[in-house]
């Protein structure tokens, strides 16, 4: 297997067209390999589907004119697809593909793909005559596909590591979004349909470093107010901060981890309880009811022994104007079910002793045994 071939030149060499073409091919191959193997393909910038309201002159029906905004995508072969200026989507092109369909509100996928277009040379003509175009425009094409064809995106396979840029380019579908079609016009743009939407470029990296000493991650390209951010700061007091951007562009901390391990949060903490900790709940319950577990403890964790319960119950003796009330039973069974009976005796009412279901006050403590792993696994 031959690796990439880099052109070399020496004095007196007679240069053929292939030698000059090799310099271009080598540079293109380096670029596409980097784009294909160091990044995840997708939309890098722009390429949004936008709408302008229109009215059909014949029917008076309202519809939208759909445009693809200028932008850049990198497809799965590493090829850049540049849309230099906004392009209005062709209703005729759509109708040629999907016009025979029955009326539906289901949105149709719209794709972008790379194409090469030959352009004439602008310099001097060759003495040997024209052998082919001297320029190739790396252009694009907007494609309409059938309902459900958005699933084709996931089936596309990138070329081999050593594959050179193909000419013409290998067709690769970049999903831009979806359009609805009603009575011969586009009527709506939808970004996500049937669980799929445009994908955007990514980066494959095992380490990311900052030159300024502060590395920020945010959910959108622009730092908008209220948007979340994660900031790793390597200054004199290193911190990891999660927070929301303020209008000033600063991050308002919601969670801060300091270099000594101190954790500060602005909200409340919930989640799995750590080993050795104790959670509690208390209250009252009537006979037959299941005692509630402390917040954050699940019945499954109690059942499989990860969490141990310690329960204390005290019978509630209702106030009585006469007679005597004593607890006959006040306990909790293995299901955490309350068993409470109260025994009543009132000599003024007769010699009989009666029993009725009662209620208890309870305290439930949940503890997690410490393990060598330090958690409750």
């Amino acid at each position: 297997m031959t690796g990439p071939l880099r052109p070399e030149f020496h004095e007196g060499q007679v240069l053929a067209a292939a030698d000059l073409a090799a310099t271009v091919t080598y540079a293109r191959a380096v670029a596409v390999r980097h784009a294909r193997l160091s990044h995840d393909w997708g939309i890098a910038d722009g390429l949004a589907l936008t709408t302008e309201n229109r009215t059909d002159a014949g029917t008076g029906a309202r519809y939208v004119e759909v445009s693809v905004q200028a932008g850049l995508a990198v497809d799965g072969t590493g090829r850049e697809v540049v849309v230099p200026s906004p392009v209005v989507l062709s209703e005729a092109d759509f109708e040629a593909v999907n016009g025979a369909d029955r009326p539906t509100t289901e949105p149709y996928p719209v794709f972008l793909t790379a194409v090469d277009r030959d352009r004439p040379a602008t310099g001097l003509a060759s003495c040997a005559g024209a052998a082919g175009p001297a320029r190739v425009e790396e252009s694009f094409q907007v494609l309409f596909k059938r309902l459900g064809d958005e699933r084709l995106v996931a089936d596309q396979q990138p070329p081999a590591v050593t594959a050179a840029p193909a000419a013409p380019p290998v067709p690769w579908l970049v999903l831009l979004g979806f359009v609805q079609w009603t009575d011969g016009h586009f009527t709506r743009v939808v970004t996500v349909a049937r669980g799929l939407g445009p994908r955007y470029v990514g980066v494959r990296a095992d380490s990311v470093s900052a030159r300024s000493g502060e590395l920020s991650l945010r959910a959108r390209p622009a730092a908008g107010e209220g948007e979340p951010a994660l900031v790793l700061s390597g200054s004199d007091t290193p911190t990891l901060v999660y927070g929301l951007y303020k209008g000033t562009g600063e991050v308002d901390p919601l969670m801060t981890v300091e270099s000594n391990g101190n954790l500060t949060i602005a909200g409340s903490f919930s989640g799995q309880i750590s080993a050795g900790s104790v959670l509690a709940t208390s209250g009252s319950a009537t006979d037959g009811m299941l005692l509630p577990l402390p917040s954050g403890v699940s019945p499954e964790e109690v059942a499989d022994g990860r969490v141990s319960l310690h329960v204390h119950v005290t019978p509630r003796i209702p106030p009585a104007t006469s007679g005597l009330t004593v607890p006959a039973e006040a306990t909790v069974d293995g299901e955490r079910r309350v068993r409470c009976r109260l025994r009543f005796y009132d000599p003024d009412s007769g010699p009989a002793v009666t029993e009725q279901p009662g209620a208890v006050d309870f305290l439930v403590l949940a503890t997690v045994a410490a393990t060598s792993g330090g958690g409750r696994g």
Partner: protein, 168 residues
């Protein structure tokens, strides 16, 4: 601190209550399991959780002394009222030849749901009926042997009763 009461769905009569700190509104299964055991002496009636619902009510400590004396007020097409209603006491049910007889002091203003559990040996027999506006009583068909039976009687708008009833 809220009180979570469990009530029988058709009548609104409370059958159990739990009050706990920092607990979100639980599902009925979390409060009673598959069924709520209702005990009188050694007898146990099993009230299935599918017949029950949970309501987060205002704190009313007295509900723990006698939950059957309280009911959940459910206005039509509205959520239940936070405050529990203290219900009037109903006469004890009786058995006749064909079933369990439930008697109101007078004909109700609207059809009134009746739900009862009757013990028959180790089994629990759930029965339901309706007291219509043209009468003050209903005999809900149930076949039980002669002798004492534990009965849980729940009638919409009336305090629940839990006692032994003699079948002649």
């Amino acid at each position: 601190m809220s009180v979570f009461v469990v009530y029988e769905s058709s009548t609104g009569v409370v059958v159990g209550a739990v009050q706990a700190i920092g607990t979100p509104v639980p599902a009925v299964d979390a409060l009673v399991g598959a069924a709520l055991p209702v005990r009188v002496g050694e007898a146990v009636l099993s009230l299935p959780s599918r017949e029950l619902a949970v309501h987060e009510a205002d704190d009313q400590p007295a509900v723990f002394a006698g939950p059957l004396a309280y009911g959940v007020t459910r206005p039509p097409n509205q959520p239940p009222k936070p405050a529990l209603a203290k219900l009037p006491v109903l006469d004890a049910p009786t058995f006749d030849e064909t079933g369990l007889v439930v008697q109101l002091p007078g004909a109700p203003a609207q059809d009134t749901a009746v739900f009862a559990l009757v013990s028959e040996g180790p089994a629990t027999l759930p029965i339901t009926g309706t007291i219509t506006t043209d009468t003050a009583r209903v005999s809900i068909p149930v076949t039980v042997s002669a002798g004492a039976h534990t009965v849980l009687l729940l009638v919409a708008g009336w305090a629940g009763r839990l006692e032994e009833v003699e079948k002649p």
